[in-house]
Symmetry: C2
Subunit: 145 residues, 2 copies
């Protein structure tokens, strides 16, 4: 086997030692699972994003939430632009092993790119989606553009 054919962390020995828990995840046909980020101290649901194997491994290794951006087709280290990282407290998986739940501390108290505490700021009221949670920080303040 040509050792240069794979990145170091995918070597057979490394995989055997560390990745059994990743093999138990029921990755979908794209190699992804949905991941829910839940605020550890309030239990509020912050957001849902997608993870591939690398994202989940790096999340656990570094203790900071890392997702897979489907639009940008690359790892998305949450907070890399906004500073709004998510510090990992706990990782859970559901009965079918096809959804991951992260309990996190949300840096800055803002998880949504719209500057709100979380992404679920619209509630259905009389057949209409109504914005009920405030913008805490404008996009220009967060992203400086």
């Amino acid at each position: 086997m040509n050792a240069t054919a794979k990145p170091a962390d995918e070597s057979a020995a490394g995989k055997a030692a560390t990745d059994a828990w990743l093999d138990e995840i029921a990755w979908d046909e794209r190699g992804l699972v949905p991941a829910i980020a839940q605020e550890a101290f309030t239990n509020r649901v912050l957001m849902v994003a997608w993870m591939n194997r690398e994202a989940l491994r790096e999340t656990v290794t570094t203790g900071q939430a890392v997702y897979w951006s489907r639009s940008r087709k690359r790892l998305w280290r949450k907070g890399e632009e906004s500073g709004h990282q998510q510090r990992l407290r706990e990782v859970r998986v559901d009965c079918d092993a096809d959804v991951v739940l992260l309990k996190v501390d949300q840096v800055g108290g803002i998880a949504c790119h719209t500057g709100r505490h979380n992404c679920f700021f619209r509630r259905l009221e009389d057949g209409r989606w109504v914005e009920i949670d405030p913008v805490l920080k404008s996009a220009s303040e967060i992203y400086g553009k």
Copy 2:
């Protein structure tokens, strides 16, 4: 137009009157979105399932959670066999409109088909998934088989 070509609830007039909020959902290529069920009074995440348009409409109309079973390819009225219905308190949608969050009261205090309070009963501990939440009722008690 042949009136028999579509089910009654998809008629143009009915759609215009009632379904604008459903059109705002970013259904995936299969016509589905993930739906998180969260226990209203504890904020604990109970489960994640999938919804199509009919499931979400019926959930809102009846006030009981209805999902789309991908394995059985039919509507799954949560609790239809177990009795563990989910009574709807609130529906939210996220910033991209591609995830739905239901706040519910969980009948029987059991959401998972394994007889546990919720489906996220395994936590990652030292590289292993460990079952940390108890079975409250056996499958034979729930399903009578």
